[in-house]
């Protein structure tokens, strides 16, 4: 595999397909500026920038990612920039100077990550344009109370896109045959293999031949299987190079997302579908996670607390699966059968997702509840799509995450609403019906009682917002950015 580090070609022979970029940088290259704080994509101390050739072929599109959960093959054919790349001839880059002058570092361990996240903003990287500095830094933790000066440093930066024509030409020249790796691992006595197809057709063929393979898009989940659970994944198919899996098509009827579209790339189109969807994307992980994780991955892995499925289910999304040359399309809720089980055959993969455009009079509310605003795992996520005509609830689609073993519709709650007058008594009856729909678990993120109570409160909040628009129902100012 080959990639560009500071513009120079790096070739790695016999790369471990689940070796992380951070370990390679720190222990093979002795580029120790990128730090390991958590090894699970949460703290951002390992933030680096990855570059792909832009659509017009003349530039490079950069995005900040966490090196600690980025597998080496995901670098193939890309450009890499680390904190060591910034200073030129001993002169610090503007972001570095701002941080020094504004006292933006104390212990300094998180600092290289902040430098890279802010440098991403300074060069107009994905997920930073017209975005608050606070959101750009949503995937970076500091514990020495340094956020104020760090944010000040970020606000002081001017955006100057790089002239990457030379780098883009080098990247184009680097495009070789699709990656295929075999790696003998002496530690586990296993042979690992990895593929990185370039087209959906190649992917379909490969997955039929290797139905045991683990498909990896952003590795924001699978990365932790390796770094935290020490799982051995023998066959991997990386999806990051499958160009026709990364398309977004907007129409009158709605938006079709390829399964490989990353959250940060989907963000503008989802915000145009409905601002609440945009707010939801803003709450998924941090910038680095949104720059790696994909819409398809969030569905395919079947998590009961994936953030997009409840919202997409409430909006009536459909998912298209493909196996070989065969495709089938189903309502998204039908894909989730039970905890750990999805309606997906061996060799079949999530190819695309269609989200219908909500009617202009649709009442939509999507709320994620978690202990932290940024970079946190959901306790309960409620998504409501109602149509109210003449004071009567004509339609209701309500879905929750964190309330069952799968993201699921609240059918009894919906039934209590549909056909009833839109008033407080109806809302209370629908809240009570949630106890019929769900028997949630107690875990570290919330007790069963807490989950059931806040699920009902989310519907009450929607009622208050509709009935008394002047009543404040949130202490948070939505930042709808300028995607609209």
């Amino acid at each position: 595999m080959r990639f560009l580090l500071d513009g120079e070609t790096i070739a790695i022979d016999n790369a471990d397909p689940t070796g992380t970029l951070l370990d390679w940088l720190r222990y093979r290259q002795r580029r120790t500026g990128s730090k390991e704080g958590c090894a699970e994509g949460d703290c951002g101390a390992c933030t680096v920038l990855l570059g792909d050739v832009s659509g017009d072929g003349e530039g490079v599109v950069w995005r900040a990612v966490n090196a600690c959960i980025l597998f080496l093959p995901m670098l193939h054919g890309r450009a890499l920039m680390t904190v060591e790349s910034l200073a030129k001839d001993g002169a610090l880059a503007p972001v570095q100077r701002e941080l020094v002058e504004r006292h933006g570092s104390q212990c300094g361990f998180c600092t290289p990550g902040f430098v890279m996240s802010l440098h991403a903003k300074a060069i107009g990287a994905v997920g930073t344009v017209d975005v608050l500095v606070e959101d750009v830094l949503s995937g970076n933790l500091c514990r020495c109370t340094g956020y104020g000066p760090i944010i000040d440093a970020g606000r002081a930066l001017t955006v100057e896109p790089r002239d990457d024509r030379v780098l883009a030409a080098r990247l184009r020249a680097l495009r070789e045959a699709p990656l295929a790796i075999r790696y003998d691992d002496p530690l586990t006595g296993t042979t690992r293999q990895a593929f990185a197809p370039r087209t959906t057709d190649e992917l379909a063929e490969l997955y039929i031949a290797h139905p045991e393979a683990r498909l990896v898009a952003g590795a924001t989940d699978v990365g932790l299987w390796v770094t935290k659970q020490m799982r051995v994944i023998e066959t991997l198919i990386f999806l990051g190079d499958v160009a026709d899996l990364a398309g977004i098509e907007e129409s009158e009827a709605g938006v079709t997302f390829g399964a490989g579209v990353r959250y940060s790339e989907a963000h503008p189109a989802l915000t145009r579908l409905h601002p609440e969807l945009g707010e939801l994307i803003r709450r998924i992980g941090g910038t680095q996670v949104r720059n790696a994780g994909t819409i398809g991955g969030n569905i395919a892995n079947g998590s009961p607390i994936g953030d997009t499925p409840p919202a997409l289910i409430a909006l009536g999304a459909t998912v298209t699966l493909r196996r070989g040359g065969e495709r089938r399309t189903m309502p998204l809720e039908a894909y989730f059968i039970a905890y750990g089980r999805q309606d997906r055959a061996p060799g079949e993969f999530v190819e695309s997702l269609f989200v219908p455009r909500p009617a202009p009079d649709a009442v939509i509310a999507i709320t994620k509840l978690s202990r932290r605003f940024d970079s946190d795992i959901t306790a309960v996520l409620g998504a409501f799509a109602l149509t109210i005509r003449g004071g009567i609830v004509a339609e209701a689609r309500i879905a929750f995450g964190g309330m069952a073993g799968i993201p699921a519709r609240a059918k009894a709650c919906e039934a209590a609403l549909i056909g009833a007058a839109w008033n407080e008594a109806t809302v209370e009856a629908a809240v009570a019906a949630l106890a019929t729909d769900f028997a949630p678990l107690t875990d570290v993120r919330g007790s069963a009682d807490y989950r059931l109570r806040v699920a009902g409160n989310l519907l009450r909040r929607l009622w208050v917002r509709q009935h008394s628009p002047d009543e404040p129902v949130s202490v948070l100012d939505p930042v709808l950015a300028t995607h609209g």
């Binding site: 730090k35 704080g37 200073a87 570095q96 020094v100 212990c107 020490m230």
Partner: protein, 301 residues
């Protein structure tokens, strides 16, 4: 001070906002922390084998699968510690490696030395330990009910508070409860030990109290303090959690856990035992479960 040091006056240090003296290195990624030091040849990588129980007797331990795992060089238990198996600063009640009994979930029981951190961590999971599980006290109420106190009660008094309260025209009662917290310094617990001449040990570690580490390591390894050199260049956050500051507890309760001196001690133990450089890089989950945290507290009046 400014009067005594003309240089300070000349450079305008006083009342001037100066950059932190490591800032330029930190923003360039050039400030060196323990894990950034080049690895010495033959470095052993260490990992703890830890308790899966909050409170239990250790009935039997079978570490044969750990010893046989790929990359493993050796395994150490409490019996291999040449000196005093204790890393508490005062109370003498906090073993580096548990023996016979574990008092909290995640408590270190044995130590694996291997050719890589991954090999050590993977092997550490292979132990077969038979526990005699005992009741665990997981909150303040259960600790109080069982009479299991972290330390002997202390009374601070001045005057006759009871009489003054009885005579007071108003009396308020209430309770303040604060949940447990982890300090979450960004750099995990870490140390690198290298052997010197005549059995001496050099420790590069991330500690707020290097002299205490020196003394504890010397006691642990049955060395003179002069045989132990502790070097601390900088820390990636600490907040008190890298300093031994509280007496330790026999209370079998997770909320009373602490073990800040562990990485330098285990690295030094391994180096002493095998005469090889040894590095203990403790993972974030192990750092949070096996090292100092602030327990929950409650005050009533």
């Amino acid at each position: 001070m400014a009067e005594r040091d003309p240089a300070l006056v000349r450079t305008g240090v006083v009342h001037t906002s100066l950059p932190h003296d490591s800032a330029a290195l930190q923003v360039a990624g050039a400030a060196l922390y323990v894990d950034d030091a080049p690895e010495p040849p033959g470095l052993l990588h260490l990992a703890f084998g830890t308790s899966s129980e909050a409170h239990a007797g250790i009935v039997a331990m079978d570490l044969s699968a750990v010893r046989a795992a790929p990359g493993v060089v050796a395994v150490l238990t409490a019996d291999d510690i040449p000196g005093v198996n204790d890393v508490s600063p005062v109370a003498g009640d906090d073993p580096l490696l548990a023996k016979g009994e574990v008092l909290f979930h995640g408590q270190p029981i044995f130590l694996v030395a291997a050719t890589s951190t991954a090999a050590a961590r993977r092997a550490a999971r292979l132990a077969k330990i038979d526990y005699d599980v005992r009741p665990a006290l997981l909150d303040i109420d259960s600790g109080l009910a069982a009479g299991s106190l972290i330390e002997a009660s202390q009374t601070m008094a001045r005057g006759d508070a009871d009489a003054a309260l009885d005579a007071a025209s108003h009396r308020l009662t209430g309770t303040v409860a604060i949940g447990g917290q982890d300090h979450f310094y960004l750099e995990g617990q870490i140390a690198l030990a290298t052997p010197g001449e005549d059995g001496q040990i050099h420790l590069l570690c991330s500690s707020q109290h290097p002299s205490e580490v020196q003394h504890l390591v010397a006691h642990l390894l049955h060395l003179s303090s002069a045989d132990v050199t502790v070097e601390v260049r900088r820390m990636g956050g600490a907040f008190g959690a890298r300093k031994l500051k509280r007496r330790c507890s026999r209370a079998p309760a997770r909320w009373s856990r602490r073990r800040p001196a562990a990485p330098p001690n285990i690295a030094a133990t391994a180096t002493r035992t095998w005469r090889s450089p040894a590095s203990a890089t403790i993972s974030r989950p192990a750092t949070m479960s096996a090292s100092t945290a602030r327990g929950g507290s409650r005050a009533s009046a």
